[in-house]
Each structure stands twice: as structure tokens, then as C-alpha cells.
């Protein structure tokens, strides 16, 4: 192999063909509200932890749907479960259980 001083950049593209439907069905059984997100971003805007770090339920849900489970857990892992997002969600998503379920189903146990 020759070092050209550059190499092939990895693709940033989401390949939805890799979507793990079984796992997602497990999640939607654990918290059916996951299906209701309309991506408005209220949760992220109100997030207590979000002031300090990249916490976002919206992005966590999207990351799961976009086959990036690791990112989903990262977006959920800094959640303090304070529940503000539950109050601001226009779709009344049970956000806390959703966040817990995401870490439960997609995260590694500590």
C-alpha cells in the first residue's frame, strides 16, 4: 500500500437498508410513543442537560431510525430524566421511558 498523503474518506451517508426492524419493534413495544415524534425539537430546547452537553431525544430517535444506534445512546446517555421534555412535548410523548428504553435496548449494560 502506498501512502499518497490522503485516503478514501468514509461515507457519511445513512443507509436505511441496514435498519434493524426487530430491535426497533422491541423499542416501540417498550414505549409506543417513539412512533409519535414529529421532530419539532421542543425536547432538546427545554433540556436541562442539553445546556451543558449534546443531549437530544429528537436526535436519539432519529439516530435509531437512521441506523446509528451508538449515536442514539450517546444522545440519550447524558439525560438527567428531569422530565421537562415530557411537559413540553406537543405529542405528549412519554419521553423519560423512551430515553430509558433507548439506553436499555440499544446501549451496553454498565
Amino acid at each position: 500500500m502506498i501512502d499518497f498523503g490522503y485516503t478514501l474518506n468514509p461515507s457519511s451517508r445513512i443507509n436505511l437498508d441496514n435498519f434493524d426492524r426487530n430491535k426497533f419493534e422491541k423499542l416501540s413495544k417498550s414505549e409506543p410513543d417513539v412512533l409519535l415524534c414529529i421532530g419539532c425539537g421542543s425536547c432538546t430546547a427545554s433540556c436541562t442537560a442539553g445546556k451543558y452537553t449534546d443531549t437530544s431525544l429528537r436526535k436519539a430517535i432519529l439516530s435509531i431510525l437512521d441506523c446509528n444506534e451508538k449515536a442514539a445512546v450517546d444522545f440519550a446517555a447524558s439525560c438527567l430524566l428531569c422530565g421537562k421534555c415530557t411537559l413540553v412535548c406537543p405529542r405528549s410523548i412519554n419521553t423519560r421511558n423512551l430515553l430509558l428504553s433507548i439506553t436499555k435496548i440499544y446501549g451496553k449494560k454498565q
Partner: protein, 352 residues
């Protein structure tokens, strides 16, 4: 794939260009790397077809690469282009044909800018006079050299010595056609067949007996991308683009790639080697790579020119397997012999 649907689209994108009397402008890249292609164009049009294609040593680059790299402003490139057109007028031509897709795109862009913003045209006119003392002119017809070959495709087919057919199996060769982005993506109506399913190369391949492959990433850029290539730290993106294309076409087992753009020929050819070196992946049968040819080279092969006269030895990917498939005779010993049998040097063998 519904072929009739495509035909319908093709019928909607047919442009009207004359088939003779052109002022010819060369391509910076092609005259460096694929010199024989431009020569083949002149040979075919002038000698075989008997057309009047005029060329002058006074013409220059269009400035496209510098423009697309943000190295020069649009005003500069427009003035350069105005000078080219002025030369055309000066030598008594009103049709302009260029060998480069980047130029073709930029000429179109410039003409469209002038059409929409007459004050810009007036300014350029002034600048041209101030700098060159040349009379401003706009071509009546603007064409790319592939448009002309496309126009002559049936005549070439009638004179053909070889066809794009595998002589051993009798099957048409599977050909990937790659159109330079600036041919019709900016102005779909300026290209034969429009932007989605450009017909210009498809028409040639069909006339000469080949079979077109429609692979998912056919629209994708070859990866040149100007800044992506010229800035070394971004070169990985350029490479990734090409890689994506090859990954997409690989399952169709293409026998060759035909392109109409200088950059595309260069990058689809050279990057195959870099992909092999960095990713350990080679395409084409037996890891030979997929030969990437210009349309003039393909026309030349079909017409029976000697492959080495067409400059196929200057390609990174060897064209011998393709020549064998087409049943073209060639002398391997003469591959690296230039004009008057002078040795032009030989690439190092890859250590692996």
C-alpha cells in the same frame, strides 16, 4: 427499466447544431494527458468527414479550472471567453466547438449570464476592447466535440472496421457511459438527451454495437470536483466519489467506460489505481481494471486506428483486454513507442 420512456425523454432534448464550419478550442487537460484524442477528433472530422474545423494557436484556456477553484473571479473568466469568441469572429467563424466539458459548461454559463444581465455583457465587451483590442462576438452555435461525433455516429458506424461487440461470444460489450457534470446538468437543454438520461454517448455506443449499462450511481460526479482534487487534504473526498461509482457499477461487470469529459477520463482512470493501492480493491475482469476511454478513442478504435496511435498507452488502466474482446490487432512491442518509434518510457510495475 422502460426503454420507451427514455426514448421519449431523448426526443425532448434534441438540440440543433450545424455539422460543419467550427472554430475549435482545445482542452487543457486533454492536450496534456490524452493528446491523441484531440488529434483523433481532428483526423476524423477533417480527414474522414471532410469538415471545416479551424484551430488557431492564439486561443487559450477558458479559465474554467481556476474559476471553479475560486482562484479567479467570474469577470476574468468571462473576459477570457470573450477573447476566444472574438478570435472565432476574427477568423470568420460563427460556430464554436470546444473539446472540454468544463469549458462547454462555462461558455454556456457565460452566454446565459450575458443574456440575463446585459450590463455584464456590456462591461465585458468594454474590458475585452481595453485589454485585447478585439471585437466582441457571440457564437451562433456552441457545441462540444462529442456533439459533433454524436452527429457523425452513423457515418462512423458505416465506416466501422470493428464493433463494440465481443468477437468471441458475439455479445455486445457492456459499456458504462459517463457524462461530465457540466455537459448538461447546468443547462439540460444544451445537451443531447438532457441531464437525467444524456443521450450523447449512449447514441454513439448504440450505433457502434455496444450495450449501455444503467447503474444506480450513473449520475454521480467522477470525483474530480476541482477543489476536492486540487486541495490535497480534500482529495479523499474526490477518491470516495469515484469509489462510490465503481462500487455501484461493479455488479454489472462493465467491459469499458466511455466518457466525454477530460477530468472524468483522467480521474476514473487514475483513481482506479489509487483505490487499488489504498483499498486493495481492483475492478474489471481478473483485476485488470476497467478501461476508461474518451469517445474519440472509441470512435478511433471502431474506425480501425492503431490503438497506440490513439494514445491508449497513456492510460493507467491497460486497454489490452478490451482490444482482445473487440478483436483489434495490436503490437504489444510498440505500446511505448512514440512518433518515429521513439521510446516514450514505461510505467513502473506495481510491487504487488
Amino acid at each position: 427499466m422502460i426503454y420507451e420512456g427514455k426514448k421519449k425523454i431523448w426526443s425532448e432534448y434534441q438540440k440543433d447544431i450545424p455539422d460543419d464550419h467550427y472554430f475549435y478550442a482545445r482542452s487543457c487537460i486533454r492536450q496534456m494527458f490524452f493528446t491523441a484524442s484531440e488529434q483523433a477528433f481532428l483526423e476524423i472530422t477533417r480527414k474522414l468527414m471532410g469538415k471545416d474545423i479551424f484551430e488557431t494557436e492564439h486561443h487559450t484556456t477558458c479559465g474554467g479550472i481556476a474559476y471553479h477553484c475560486d482562484a479567479i473571479p467570474q469577470e476574468t473568466s468571462m473576459t477570457i471567453i470573450a477573447r476566444q469568441f472574438a478570435l472565432m469572429k476574427k477568423y470568420g467563424y460563427e460556430n464554436f466547438v470546444c473539446s472540454c466539458i468544463t469549458s462547454f459548461g462555462l461558455y454556456n454559463e457565460t452566454l446565459e449570464t450575458w443574456r440575463r444581465f446585459p450590463e455584464v455583457e456590456a462591461k465585458v465587451k468594454e474590458d475585452l476592447w481595453e485589454s485585447c483590442h478585439l471585437e466582441f462576438a457571440k457564437p451562433k452555435f456552441l457545441a462540444h466535440t462529442c456533439d459533433l461525433i454524436y452527429k457523425y455516429r452513423e457515418r462512423i458506424a458505416s465506416m466501422a472496421k470493428y464493433r463494440l461487440v465481443n468477437v468471441k461470444t458475439g455479445r455486445p460489450l457492456r459499456v458504462v457511459e459517463h457524462i461530465g457534470c457540466h455537459y448538461s446538468k447546468m443547462f439540460p437543454s444544451k445537451g443531447f438527451g438532457g441531464a437525467e438520461y444524456p443521450y450523447v454517448l449512449v447514441g454513439m455506443v448504440e450505433s457502434w454495437g455496444g450495450e449501455i449499462i444503467d447503474y444506480p450511481e450513473r449520475r454521480h460526479c467522477c470525483g474530480f470536483g476541482f477543489r476536492q482534487y486540487f486541495i490535497q487534504s480534500d482529495r479523499g473526498y474526490s477518491l470516495a466519489n469515484t469509489y462510490k461509482k465503481f462500487e455501484s457499477m461493479e455488479p454489472y461487470e462493465p467491459d469499458m467506460i466511455i466518457t466525454n469529459c477530460p477530468g472524468c477520463t483522467y480521474f476514473m482512470d487514475r483513481w482506479q489505481y489509487v483505490i487499488a493501492e489504498t483499498q486493495g480493491k481492483t475492478y474489471g475482469g481478473k483485476g485488470h481494471g476497467i478501461p476508461v476511454l474518451t469517445y474519440e478513442e472509441v470512435a478511433g478504435l471502431v474506425l480501425g486506428y492503431d490503438p497506440w496511435d490513439l494514445g491508449l498507452q497513456t492510460h493507467q488502466v491497460g486497454s489490452e483486454p478490451l482490444l482482445d474482446k473487440m478483436g483489434i490487432k495490436y503490437d504489444p512491442a510498440k505500446k511505448y513507442l512514440g512518433v518515429n518509434g521513439k521510446f516514450i518510457g514505461e510505467p513502473e510495475k506495481s510491487p504487488c
